[in-house]
Amino acid sequence: MALLHEIPAPLSPAAATRVLVLRNYVVYKSAWKLFVTGFLEPVFYLFSIGIGVGQLIDTFEFHGEAIPYAEFVAPAMLATSAFNGALLDSTYNVFFKLKYEKLYDQMLATPLSTGDIARGEIAWGLMRGSVYSAAFLVVMAVMGLTHSWWAVLALPAAVLIAFAFSAVCMAVTTWMTSWQDFDKITLVQMPLFLFSATFFPVEAFGDGVLRWVVEATPLYRGVVLCRELTTGVVTWESAVSVVYLVVMGIVGLLVVRRRLDRLLLT
Protein backbone atom coordinates (compact mmCIF):
# COMPACT_ATOMS: atom_id res chain seq x y z
CA MET A 1 0.00 0.00 0.00
CA ALA A 2 1.17 3.50 -0.76
CA LEU A 3 2.27 5.22 2.38
CA LEU A 4 1.51 8.82 3.04
CA HIS A 5 4.97 10.13 3.59
CA GLU A 6 3.86 12.95 5.74
CA ILE A 7 0.78 13.45 7.81
CA PRO A 8 -1.26 16.25 6.26
CA ALA A 9 -1.95 19.11 8.64
CA PRO A 10 -5.60 19.46 9.66
CA LEU A 11 -7.48 21.63 7.15
CA SER A 12 -7.75 25.38 7.60
CA PRO A 13 -11.27 26.63 8.36
CA ALA A 14 -11.70 27.81 4.77
CA ALA A 15 -10.41 24.54 3.30
CA ALA A 16 -12.58 22.47 5.66
CA THR A 17 -15.63 24.47 4.56
CA ARG A 18 -14.74 23.79 0.92
CA VAL A 19 -14.41 20.04 1.53
CA LEU A 20 -17.82 19.90 3.20
CA VAL A 21 -19.35 21.82 0.31
CA LEU A 22 -17.60 19.36 -2.02
CA ARG A 23 -19.27 16.47 -0.20
CA ASN A 24 -22.72 18.00 -0.71
CA TYR A 25 -21.91 18.86 -4.28
CA VAL A 26 -21.00 15.24 -5.03
CA VAL A 27 -24.29 14.10 -3.50
CA TYR A 28 -26.35 16.55 -5.55
CA LYS A 29 -24.40 16.15 -8.78
CA SER A 30 -26.57 13.16 -9.54
CA ALA A 31 -29.75 14.76 -8.19
CA TRP A 32 -29.63 18.14 -9.95
CA LYS A 33 -33.30 17.81 -10.90
CA LEU A 34 -34.17 18.62 -7.29
CA PHE A 35 -32.76 22.06 -7.97
CA VAL A 36 -35.13 22.68 -10.87
CA THR A 37 -38.29 22.49 -8.74
CA GLY A 38 -36.82 24.90 -6.22
CA PHE A 39 -36.10 27.35 -9.01
CA LEU A 40 -39.50 27.00 -10.67
CA GLU A 41 -41.62 27.67 -7.60
CA PRO A 42 -41.00 31.42 -7.35
CA VAL A 43 -41.20 31.70 -11.14
CA PHE A 44 -44.71 30.23 -11.01
CA TYR A 45 -45.69 32.71 -8.31
CA LEU A 46 -44.31 35.55 -10.37
CA PHE A 47 -46.34 34.56 -13.40
CA SER A 48 -49.57 33.67 -11.61
CA ILE A 49 -49.75 36.44 -9.06
CA GLY A 50 -47.24 39.08 -10.14
CA ILE A 51 -48.35 39.09 -13.74
CA GLY A 52 -51.74 37.34 -13.68
CA VAL A 53 -53.27 39.03 -10.66
CA GLY A 54 -51.16 42.10 -11.47
CA GLN A 55 -53.38 42.84 -14.49
CA LEU A 56 -56.19 43.69 -12.09
CA ILE A 57 -53.98 46.03 -10.11
CA ASP A 58 -52.85 49.41 -11.30
CA THR A 59 -49.61 50.34 -9.57
CA PHE A 60 -48.27 50.28 -6.03
CA GLU A 61 -46.48 53.00 -4.29
CA PHE A 62 -43.09 51.99 -2.91
CA HIS A 63 -41.04 54.56 -0.99
CA GLY A 64 -43.08 57.25 -2.72
CA GLU A 65 -42.65 55.90 -6.24
CA ALA A 66 -45.33 54.21 -8.29
CA ILE A 67 -44.26 50.80 -9.61
CA PRO A 68 -46.16 48.15 -11.60
CA TYR A 69 -47.40 45.23 -9.54
CA ALA A 70 -45.11 42.68 -11.23
CA GLU A 71 -42.12 44.77 -10.26
CA PHE A 72 -43.44 44.81 -6.74
CA VAL A 73 -43.83 41.04 -6.50
CA ALA A 74 -40.69 39.97 -8.42
CA PRO A 75 -38.08 41.13 -5.87
CA ALA A 76 -40.15 39.52 -3.12
CA MET A 77 -39.98 36.22 -5.01
CA LEU A 78 -36.24 36.75 -5.40
CA ALA A 79 -35.87 37.04 -1.62
CA THR A 80 -38.21 34.10 -1.12
CA SER A 81 -36.25 31.85 -3.45
CA ALA A 82 -33.12 32.49 -1.39
CA PHE A 83 -35.15 31.83 1.76
CA ASN A 84 -36.67 28.58 0.52
CA GLY A 85 -33.43 27.25 -0.92
CA ALA A 86 -31.58 27.86 2.34
CA LEU A 87 -34.40 26.42 4.41
CA LEU A 88 -34.55 23.14 2.48
CA ASP A 89 -30.98 22.12 3.20
CA SER A 90 -30.62 23.50 6.66
CA THR A 91 -33.73 21.83 8.07
CA TYR A 92 -34.73 18.48 6.53
CA ASN A 93 -31.30 17.56 5.22
CA VAL A 94 -29.46 18.63 8.35
CA PHE A 95 -31.88 16.71 10.55
CA PHE A 96 -31.40 13.58 8.48
CA LYS A 97 -27.63 13.87 8.64
CA LEU A 98 -27.62 14.65 12.34
CA LYS A 99 -30.10 12.10 13.67
CA TYR A 100 -30.34 9.31 11.11
CA GLU A 101 -27.26 9.20 8.99
CA LYS A 102 -24.97 10.20 11.88
CA LEU A 103 -22.94 11.96 9.24
CA TYR A 104 -21.52 14.52 11.63
CA ASP A 105 -20.30 11.78 13.95
CA GLN A 106 -18.35 10.38 11.02
CA MET A 107 -16.88 13.76 10.27
CA LEU A 108 -15.87 14.34 13.87
CA ALA A 109 -13.82 11.14 13.80
CA THR A 110 -11.55 13.01 11.38
CA PRO A 111 -9.66 16.25 12.12
CA LEU A 112 -12.82 18.23 11.28
CA SER A 113 -14.40 20.22 14.11
CA THR A 114 -17.98 21.19 14.94
CA GLY A 115 -17.12 24.71 13.74
CA ASP A 116 -16.10 23.27 10.36
CA ILE A 117 -19.38 21.36 10.13
CA ALA A 118 -21.42 24.44 11.04
CA ARG A 119 -19.61 26.57 8.48
CA GLY A 120 -19.67 23.90 5.78
CA GLU A 121 -23.37 23.14 6.06
CA ILE A 122 -24.40 26.78 6.30
CA ALA A 123 -22.19 27.59 3.33
CA TRP A 124 -23.93 24.87 1.35
CA GLY A 125 -27.40 26.12 2.30
CA LEU A 126 -26.29 29.61 1.37
CA MET A 127 -25.05 28.40 -2.01
CA ARG A 128 -28.25 26.55 -2.76
CA GLY A 129 -30.34 29.60 -1.95
CA SER A 130 -28.00 31.78 -3.99
CA VAL A 131 -28.20 29.56 -7.07
CA TYR A 132 -32.01 29.82 -7.02
CA SER A 133 -31.83 33.57 -6.62
CA ALA A 134 -29.26 34.07 -9.35
CA ALA A 135 -31.42 32.12 -11.79
CA PHE A 136 -34.47 34.08 -10.74
CA LEU A 137 -32.66 37.39 -11.11
CA VAL A 138 -31.83 36.45 -14.70
CA VAL A 139 -35.53 35.78 -15.32
CA MET A 140 -36.37 39.19 -13.87
CA ALA A 141 -33.80 40.96 -16.00
CA VAL A 142 -34.99 39.18 -19.15
CA MET A 143 -38.59 40.17 -18.40
CA GLY A 144 -37.59 43.78 -17.86
CA LEU A 145 -38.49 43.79 -14.18
CA THR A 146 -35.27 45.43 -13.03
CA HIS A 147 -34.99 49.16 -13.24
CA SER A 148 -31.64 50.16 -11.93
CA TRP A 149 -28.02 49.07 -11.85
CA TRP A 150 -28.60 48.65 -8.14
CA ALA A 151 -30.28 45.40 -9.17
CA VAL A 152 -26.82 43.85 -9.58
CA LEU A 153 -26.51 44.11 -5.81
CA ALA A 154 -29.73 42.14 -5.40
CA LEU A 155 -27.65 38.99 -5.86
CA PRO A 156 -25.35 39.61 -2.88
CA ALA A 157 -28.48 40.63 -0.98
CA ALA A 158 -30.03 37.27 -1.80
CA VAL A 159 -26.81 35.53 -0.71
CA LEU A 160 -27.09 37.37 2.58
CA ILE A 161 -30.70 36.28 3.00
CA ALA A 162 -29.70 32.68 2.28
CA PHE A 163 -26.87 32.93 4.82
CA ALA A 164 -29.07 34.34 7.57
CA PHE A 165 -31.82 31.75 7.12
CA SER A 166 -29.46 28.87 6.55
CA ALA A 167 -27.71 29.58 9.85
CA VAL A 168 -30.81 30.19 11.93
CA CYS A 169 -32.78 27.28 10.46
CA MET A 170 -29.88 24.92 11.09
CA ALA A 171 -29.69 26.16 14.66
CA VAL A 172 -33.41 25.55 15.15
CA THR A 173 -33.08 22.09 13.61
CA THR A 174 -30.60 21.02 16.29
CA TRP A 175 -33.50 21.17 18.76
CA MET A 176 -35.77 18.97 16.67
CA THR A 177 -36.43 15.48 17.96
CA SER A 178 -38.71 13.94 15.35
CA TRP A 179 -40.03 14.54 11.85
CA GLN A 180 -43.30 15.81 13.36
CA ASP A 181 -41.41 18.85 14.60
CA PHE A 182 -41.09 19.96 11.00
CA ASP A 183 -44.75 20.89 10.97
CA LYS A 184 -43.68 23.79 13.14
CA ILE A 185 -41.21 24.90 10.48
CA THR A 186 -43.97 24.90 7.87
CA LEU A 187 -46.11 26.81 10.33
CA VAL A 188 -43.51 29.59 10.40
CA GLN A 189 -42.47 29.34 6.78
CA MET A 190 -45.93 29.89 5.28
CA PRO A 191 -46.86 33.11 7.11
CA LEU A 192 -43.37 34.50 6.54
CA PHE A 193 -43.81 33.83 2.85
CA LEU A 194 -47.32 35.31 2.62
CA PHE A 195 -47.11 38.30 4.96
CA SER A 196 -43.61 39.73 4.53
CA ALA A 197 -44.92 42.41 2.17
CA THR A 198 -44.46 39.84 -0.57
CA PHE A 199 -47.79 40.32 -2.37
CA PHE A 200 -49.09 43.54 -0.82
CA PRO A 201 -47.45 46.60 0.78
CA VAL A 202 -46.70 46.61 4.48
CA GLU A 203 -48.94 49.69 4.80
CA ALA A 204 -51.88 47.28 4.57
CA PHE A 205 -51.13 46.31 8.17
CA GLY A 206 -52.10 49.81 9.26
CA ASP A 207 -49.95 51.87 11.60
CA GLY A 208 -50.27 49.64 14.65
CA VAL A 209 -48.17 47.05 16.40
CA LEU A 210 -48.78 44.49 13.68
CA ARG A 211 -46.89 46.52 11.16
CA TRP A 212 -43.96 46.92 13.54
CA VAL A 213 -43.91 43.17 14.07
CA VAL A 214 -43.88 42.49 10.35
CA GLU A 215 -41.13 45.02 9.80
CA ALA A 216 -39.03 43.27 12.42
CA THR A 217 -39.25 39.83 10.78
CA PRO A 218 -36.26 38.64 8.80
CA LEU A 219 -37.94 37.77 5.52
CA TYR A 220 -39.54 41.20 5.42
CA ARG A 221 -36.08 42.75 5.76
CA GLY A 222 -34.90 40.58 2.90
CA VAL A 223 -37.88 41.34 0.68
CA VAL A 224 -37.63 45.09 1.20
CA LEU A 225 -33.89 45.04 0.63
CA CYS A 226 -34.30 43.22 -2.68
CA ARG A 227 -37.14 45.51 -3.70
CA GLU A 228 -35.10 48.60 -2.92
CA LEU A 229 -32.26 47.28 -5.04
CA THR A 230 -34.24 46.11 -8.08
CA THR A 231 -36.30 49.29 -8.22
CA GLY A 232 -33.33 51.51 -7.44
CA VAL A 233 -34.99 53.19 -4.44
CA VAL A 234 -32.19 52.63 -1.96
CA THR A 235 -32.69 54.25 1.47
CA TRP A 236 -31.21 54.14 4.96
CA GLU A 237 -33.57 51.23 5.57
CA SER A 238 -31.47 49.14 3.18
CA ALA A 239 -28.51 49.43 5.54
CA VAL A 240 -30.68 48.39 8.48
CA SER A 241 -31.71 45.27 6.60
CA VAL A 242 -28.12 44.39 5.74
CA VAL A 243 -26.95 44.70 9.35
CA TYR A 244 -30.00 42.78 10.55
CA LEU A 245 -29.30 39.84 8.23
CA VAL A 246 -25.56 39.78 8.91
CA VAL A 247 -26.14 39.67 12.66
CA MET A 248 -28.82 37.02 12.28
CA GLY A 249 -26.47 34.79 10.27
CA ILE A 250 -23.54 35.17 12.65
CA VAL A 251 -25.67 34.47 15.71
CA GLY A 252 -27.10 31.39 13.97
CA LEU A 253 -23.62 30.14 13.12
CA LEU A 254 -22.41 30.51 16.70
CA VAL A 255 -25.50 28.78 18.07
CA VAL A 256 -25.12 25.87 15.61
CA ARG A 257 -21.56 25.36 16.72
CA ARG A 258 -22.45 25.33 20.40
CA ARG A 259 -25.37 22.99 19.84
CA LEU A 260 -23.25 20.55 17.84
CA ASP A 261 -20.69 20.56 20.66
CA ARG A 262 -23.41 19.68 23.10
CA LEU A 263 -25.08 17.05 20.97
CA LEU A 264 -22.10 15.30 19.48
CA LEU A 265 -19.10 15.75 21.76
CA THR A 266 -20.53 13.93 24.76
Partner: protein
Protein backbone atom coordinates in the same frame (compact mmCIF):
# COMPACT_ATOMS: atom_id res chain seq x y z
CA UNK B 1 0.63 5.19 22.08
CA UNK B 2 -2.08 5.54 24.70
CA UNK B 3 -1.55 6.31 28.33
CA UNK B 4 -4.45 6.76 30.75
CA UNK B 5 -4.19 7.46 34.49
CA UNK B 6 -7.28 7.41 36.65
CA UNK B 7 -9.39 8.06 33.54
CA UNK B 8 -13.03 8.84 34.27
CA UNK B 9 -16.17 9.56 32.28
CA UNK B 10 -19.48 10.57 33.73
CA UNK B 11 -22.79 11.53 32.16
CA UNK B 12 -24.65 13.56 34.76
CA UNK B 13 -24.85 11.35 37.84
CA UNK B 14 -23.95 8.21 35.96
CA UNK B 15 -20.29 7.21 36.01
CA UNK B 16 -19.55 5.12 32.94
CA UNK B 17 -15.80 4.90 33.55
CA UNK B 18 -14.67 5.08 37.16
CA UNK B 19 -10.94 5.59 37.01
CA UNK B 20 -8.89 3.24 34.85
CA UNK B 21 -5.18 2.98 34.10
CA UNK B 22 -4.27 1.77 30.63
CA UNK B 23 -1.01 1.67 28.72
CA UNK B 24 -1.01 0.67 25.05
CA UNK B 25 2.36 0.16 23.34
CA UNK B 26 3.28 0.68 19.71
CA UNK B 27 2.51 -2.22 17.40
CA UNK B 28 0.43 -4.30 19.78
CA UNK B 29 -3.19 -5.34 19.57
CA UNK B 30 -4.89 -4.29 22.76
CA UNK B 31 -8.38 -5.33 23.79
CA UNK B 32 -11.10 -4.00 26.02
CA UNK B 33 -13.25 -6.95 26.97
CA UNK B 34 -16.48 -6.68 28.87
CA UNK B 35 -20.25 -6.94 28.74
CA UNK B 36 -22.45 -4.18 27.36
CA UNK B 37 -22.42 -1.21 29.70
CA UNK B 38 -18.96 -1.95 31.10
CA UNK B 39 -17.61 1.39 29.88
CA UNK B 40 -15.73 0.12 26.83
CA UNK B 41 -17.38 2.40 24.29
CA UNK B 42 -17.09 5.44 26.54
CA UNK B 43 -13.39 4.72 26.90
CA UNK B 44 -13.05 4.32 23.14
CA UNK B 45 -14.79 7.63 22.48
CA UNK B 46 -12.42 9.40 24.85
CA UNK B 47 -9.44 7.80 23.09
CA UNK B 48 -10.94 8.82 19.74
CA UNK B 49 -10.82 12.40 21.06
CA UNK B 50 -14.52 13.09 20.48
CA UNK B 51 -15.62 12.76 24.10
CA UNK B 52 -14.18 15.12 26.71
CA UNK B 53 -12.44 13.42 29.64
CA UNK B 54 -14.34 13.89 32.92
CA UNK B 55 -11.36 13.18 35.17
CA UNK B 56 -7.86 11.74 35.24
CA UNK B 57 -5.22 12.02 32.57
CA UNK B 58 -5.24 10.80 28.99
CA UNK B 59 -2.42 11.07 26.45
CA UNK B 60 -2.75 9.76 22.91
CA UNK B 61 0.37 9.65 20.74
CA UNK B 62 1.88 11.89 23.40
CA UNK B 63 -0.80 14.56 22.95
CA UNK B 64 -3.68 15.79 25.06
CA UNK B 65 -7.08 15.25 23.39
CA UNK B 66 -8.50 18.35 25.08
CA UNK B 67 -6.11 20.63 23.21
CA UNK B 68 -4.79 18.62 20.26
CA UNK B 69 -7.98 16.84 19.17
CA UNK B 70 -7.66 17.53 15.42
CA UNK B 71 -3.95 16.59 15.37
CA UNK B 72 -4.64 13.33 17.22
CA UNK B 73 -7.64 12.45 15.05
CA UNK B 74 -5.52 13.03 11.97
CA UNK B 75 -3.41 10.03 12.98
CA UNK B 76 -6.21 7.78 14.19
CA UNK B 77 -8.42 5.39 12.30
CA UNK B 78 -11.84 4.92 13.87
CA UNK B 79 -14.18 2.07 13.11
CA UNK B 80 -17.33 2.70 15.16
CA UNK B 81 -19.72 0.11 16.49
CA UNK B 82 -22.42 0.90 13.96
CA UNK B 83 -21.50 1.33 10.33
CA UNK B 84 -21.78 5.08 9.99
CA UNK B 85 -21.18 5.20 6.28
CA UNK B 86 -22.28 8.12 4.13
CA UNK B 87 -25.38 6.61 2.54
CA UNK B 88 -25.76 9.46 0.08
CA UNK B 89 -22.39 8.72 -1.51
CA UNK B 90 -21.14 5.82 -3.62
CA UNK B 91 -18.75 3.26 -2.16
CA UNK B 92 -15.76 4.90 -3.84
CA UNK B 93 -16.79 8.39 -2.76
CA UNK B 94 -17.18 7.19 0.80
CA UNK B 95 -13.45 6.58 0.80
CA UNK B 96 -12.46 9.54 -1.37
CA UNK B 97 -14.45 12.22 0.45
CA UNK B 98 -13.50 10.84 3.85
CA UNK B 99 -9.86 11.13 2.86
CA UNK B 100 -10.41 14.73 1.89
CA UNK B 101 -11.69 15.44 5.41
CA UNK B 102 -8.14 14.64 6.56
CA UNK B 103 -6.67 17.17 4.19
CA UNK B 104 -5.20 14.50 1.92
CA UNK B 105 -4.77 15.80 -1.64
CA UNK B 106 -7.02 14.65 -4.50
CA UNK B 107 -4.58 12.38 -6.32
CA UNK B 108 -3.42 10.58 -3.18
CA UNK B 109 -7.02 10.19 -2.05
CA UNK B 110 -8.04 8.58 -5.32
CA UNK B 111 -5.07 6.23 -5.23
CA UNK B 112 -5.67 5.26 -1.59
CA UNK B 113 -9.39 4.74 -2.24
CA UNK B 114 -8.62 2.33 -5.07
CA UNK B 115 -6.13 0.40 -2.94
CA UNK B 116 -8.52 0.17 -0.04
CA UNK B 117 -11.35 -1.08 -2.25
CA UNK B 118 -9.03 -3.89 -3.19
CA UNK B 119 -8.06 -4.50 0.42
CA UNK B 120 -11.73 -4.69 1.40
CA UNK B 121 -12.45 -6.91 -1.63
CA UNK B 122 -15.21 -4.64 -2.92
CA UNK B 123 -13.55 -3.18 -6.02
CA UNK B 124 -16.45 -4.29 -8.21
CA UNK B 125 -18.84 -2.32 -5.99
CA UNK B 126 -16.97 0.97 -6.34
CA UNK B 127 -19.86 2.78 -8.01
CA UNK B 128 -22.63 1.12 -6.01
CA UNK B 129 -24.65 2.86 -3.34
CA UNK B 130 -23.73 1.87 0.20
CA UNK B 131 -27.25 0.56 0.83
CA UNK B 132 -26.81 -2.23 -1.69
CA UNK B 133 -23.85 -3.77 0.19
CA UNK B 134 -24.18 -6.81 2.47
CA UNK B 135 -23.49 -6.46 6.19
CA UNK B 136 -20.01 -7.90 5.82
CA UNK B 137 -19.17 -5.61 2.92
CA UNK B 138 -20.36 -2.53 4.83
CA UNK B 139 -18.19 -3.53 7.74
CA UNK B 140 -15.17 -4.02 5.48
CA UNK B 141 -15.84 -0.66 3.85
CA UNK B 142 -16.02 1.00 7.28
CA UNK B 143 -12.67 -0.53 8.20
CA UNK B 144 -11.18 0.38 4.82
CA UNK B 145 -12.38 3.94 5.32
CA UNK B 146 -10.73 4.11 8.74
CA UNK B 147 -7.41 3.29 7.03
CA UNK B 148 -7.56 6.10 4.46
CA UNK B 149 -5.08 8.26 6.40
CA UNK B 150 -2.66 5.40 7.14
CA UNK B 151 -3.37 5.66 10.84
CA UNK B 152 -0.75 4.93 13.50
CA UNK B 153 -3.50 3.74 15.77
CA UNK B 154 -6.68 1.95 14.70
CA UNK B 155 -9.69 1.91 17.06
CA UNK B 156 -12.21 -0.85 16.43
CA UNK B 157 -15.41 -0.84 18.47
CA UNK B 158 -17.08 -4.26 18.31
CA UNK B 159 -15.68 -4.92 14.83
CA UNK B 160 -17.48 -8.18 14.12
CA UNK B 161 -20.77 -7.80 16.00
CA UNK B 162 -23.63 -8.86 13.76
CA UNK B 163 -21.49 -10.60 11.15
CA UNK B 164 -21.85 -14.21 10.08
CA UNK B 165 -18.94 -16.58 10.96
CA UNK B 166 -17.45 -16.47 7.49
CA UNK B 167 -17.42 -12.69 7.35
CA UNK B 168 -15.83 -12.61 10.82
CA UNK B 169 -12.94 -14.77 9.68
CA UNK B 170 -12.32 -12.60 6.62
CA UNK B 171 -12.21 -9.58 8.89
CA UNK B 172 -9.93 -11.18 11.46
CA UNK B 173 -7.54 -12.05 8.67
CA UNK B 174 -7.49 -8.44 7.54
CA UNK B 175 -6.94 -7.11 11.02
CA UNK B 176 -4.12 -9.57 11.49
CA UNK B 177 -2.46 -8.27 8.34
CA UNK B 178 -2.74 -4.71 9.56
CA UNK B 179 -1.13 -5.67 12.80
CA UNK B 180 1.72 -7.28 10.91
CA UNK B 181 2.10 -4.08 8.93
CA UNK B 182 2.81 -2.33 12.22
CA UNK B 183 -0.55 -0.69 12.94
CA UNK B 184 -1.41 -0.52 16.62
CA UNK B 185 -4.90 -1.93 17.17
CA UNK B 186 -7.28 -1.18 19.99
CA UNK B 187 -10.32 -3.44 19.95
CA UNK B 188 -13.42 -3.65 22.09
CA UNK B 189 -15.42 -6.80 21.99
CA UNK B 190 -17.72 -8.97 24.00
CA UNK B 191 -16.66 -12.08 22.13
CA UNK B 192 -13.94 -13.96 23.95
CA UNK B 193 -12.89 -15.90 20.84
CA UNK B 194 -12.29 -12.61 19.08
CA UNK B 195 -10.18 -11.31 21.92
CA UNK B 196 -8.18 -14.54 22.04
CA UNK B 197 -7.63 -14.44 18.28
CA UNK B 198 -6.63 -10.84 17.96
CA UNK B 199 -5.31 -9.39 21.19
CA UNK B 200 -1.77 -9.51 22.52
CA UNK B 201 -2.92 -7.93 25.73
CA UNK B 202 -6.28 -7.00 27.11
CA UNK B 203 -8.12 -5.64 30.05
CA UNK B 204 -11.38 -7.04 31.34
CA UNK B 205 -13.74 -4.20 32.18
CA UNK B 206 -16.75 -4.45 34.41
CA UNK B 207 -18.97 -1.65 35.74
CA UNK B 208 -16.56 1.05 34.67
CA UNK B 209 -13.47 -0.51 36.25
CA UNK B 210 -10.68 -2.79 35.13
CA UNK B 211 -11.12 -6.22 36.66
CA UNK B 212 -7.96 -7.82 35.27
CA UNK B 213 -5.17 -7.18 32.81
CA UNK B 214 -2.77 -9.37 30.85
CA UNK B 215 -2.37 -11.52 27.75
CA UNK B 216 -5.22 -13.96 27.09
CA UNK B 217 -2.98 -16.85 28.19
CA UNK B 218 -1.85 -15.09 31.37
CA UNK B 219 -5.40 -14.26 32.31
CA UNK B 220 -6.55 -17.82 31.80
CA UNK B 221 -3.61 -19.20 33.77
CA UNK B 222 -4.12 -16.73 36.58
CA UNK B 223 -7.88 -16.89 36.89
CA UNK B 224 -8.96 -20.29 35.64
CA UNK B 225 -7.93 -23.94 35.49
CA UNK B 226 -6.51 -25.65 32.42
CA UNK B 227 -9.76 -27.41 31.57
CA UNK B 228 -13.47 -27.16 32.20
CA UNK B 229 -16.04 -29.93 32.38
CA UNK B 230 -19.46 -28.77 31.25
CA UNK B 231 -22.34 -30.85 32.59
CA UNK B 232 -25.88 -30.42 31.37
CA UNK B 233 -28.75 -31.75 33.47
CA UNK B 234 -32.51 -31.37 33.27
CA UNK B 235 -34.16 -27.95 33.54
CA UNK B 236 -33.99 -26.58 37.09
CA UNK B 237 -31.76 -29.34 38.46
CA UNK B 238 -28.43 -27.55 38.21
CA UNK B 239 -28.57 -25.69 41.50
CA UNK B 240 -29.32 -28.86 43.48
CA UNK B 241 -26.69 -30.99 41.78
CA UNK B 242 -23.94 -28.38 42.17
CA UNK B 243 -23.46 -29.38 45.82
CA UNK B 244 -22.87 -33.00 44.86
CA UNK B 245 -19.98 -32.26 42.50
CA UNK B 246 -18.27 -29.27 44.03
CA UNK B 247 -15.46 -31.31 45.58
CA UNK B 248 -14.49 -32.66 42.13
CA UNK B 249 -12.93 -29.45 40.86
CA UNK B 250 -11.35 -26.27 42.13
CA UNK B 251 -14.58 -24.43 41.57
CA UNK B 252 -18.12 -24.91 40.26
CA UNK B 253 -20.18 -22.33 38.39
CA UNK B 254 -23.93 -22.73 38.06
CA UNK B 255 -25.33 -21.38 34.80
CA UNK B 256 -29.02 -21.51 33.90
CA UNK B 257 -28.42 -24.29 31.40
CA UNK B 258 -25.34 -26.15 32.73
CA UNK B 259 -22.74 -26.65 35.43
CA UNK B 260 -19.11 -25.74 34.87
CA UNK B 261 -16.59 -27.70 36.92
CA UNK B 262 -13.11 -26.17 36.83
CA UNK B 263 -10.27 -28.65 36.99
CA UNK B 264 -6.94 -29.29 35.29
CA UNK B 265 -8.21 -32.73 34.31
CA UNK B 266 -11.68 -32.44 32.87
CA UNK B 267 -12.09 -36.06 31.78
CA UNK B 268 -11.44 -37.24 35.35
CA UNK B 269 -14.24 -34.98 36.54
CA UNK B 270 -16.71 -36.46 34.07
CA UNK B 271 -15.70 -40.01 35.06
CA UNK B 272 -16.15 -39.19 38.74
CA UNK B 273 -19.56 -37.63 38.09
CA UNK B 274 -20.76 -40.78 36.35
CA UNK B 275 -19.25 -42.92 39.13
CA UNK B 276 -21.45 -41.09 41.63
CA UNK B 277 -24.52 -42.23 39.74
CA UNK B 278 -25.36 -38.79 38.38
CA UNK B 279 -26.65 -38.85 34.84
CA UNK B 280 -25.95 -35.65 32.91
CA UNK B 281 -27.87 -35.24 29.63
CA UNK B 282 -24.66 -34.09 27.98
CA UNK B 283 -21.04 -33.54 28.94
CA UNK B 284 -18.21 -31.61 27.33
CA UNK B 285 -14.59 -31.19 28.32
CA UNK B 286 -12.86 -28.12 26.92
CA UNK B 287 -9.96 -25.79 27.60
CA UNK B 288 -10.57 -22.70 29.67
CA UNK B 289 -11.34 -19.55 27.72
CA UNK B 290 -11.51 -15.88 28.53
CA UNK B 291 -15.18 -16.28 29.19
CA UNK B 292 -14.31 -18.45 32.18
CA UNK B 293 -11.97 -15.75 33.38
CA UNK B 294 -14.72 -13.24 33.07
CA UNK B 295 -17.20 -15.45 34.88
CA UNK B 296 -14.72 -15.84 37.68
CA UNK B 297 -13.98 -12.14 37.93
CA UNK B 298 -17.46 -10.71 37.64
CA UNK B 299 -19.87 -13.59 38.27
CA UNK B 300 -21.47 -12.86 34.94
CA UNK B 301 -21.21 -14.09 31.41
CA UNK B 302 -19.72 -11.89 28.73
CA UNK B 303 -22.44 -11.86 26.16
CA UNK B 304 -25.16 -10.72 28.56
Amino acid sequence: MISARGLRKSFGDFEAVKGIDVEVRRGEAFGFLGPNGAGKSSTMRMIASVSPVSGGELRILGMDPATDGPAIRGRLGVCPQEDTLDKELSVFDNLYIYGRYFGIDRATCRERARELLEFAQITDKAKAKVESLSGGMKRRLTIARSLINNPDLLLLDEPTTGLDPQARHVLWDQLFRLKQAGVTLVITTHYMDEAEQLCDRLVVMDKGLIAAEGSPRELIDAHSTREVAELRFGVGEHEAIAGKVEDLGERVEVLPDRLLVYSDHGEDVVTAVLDRGLQPLATLVRRSTLEDVFLRLTGRRLAD
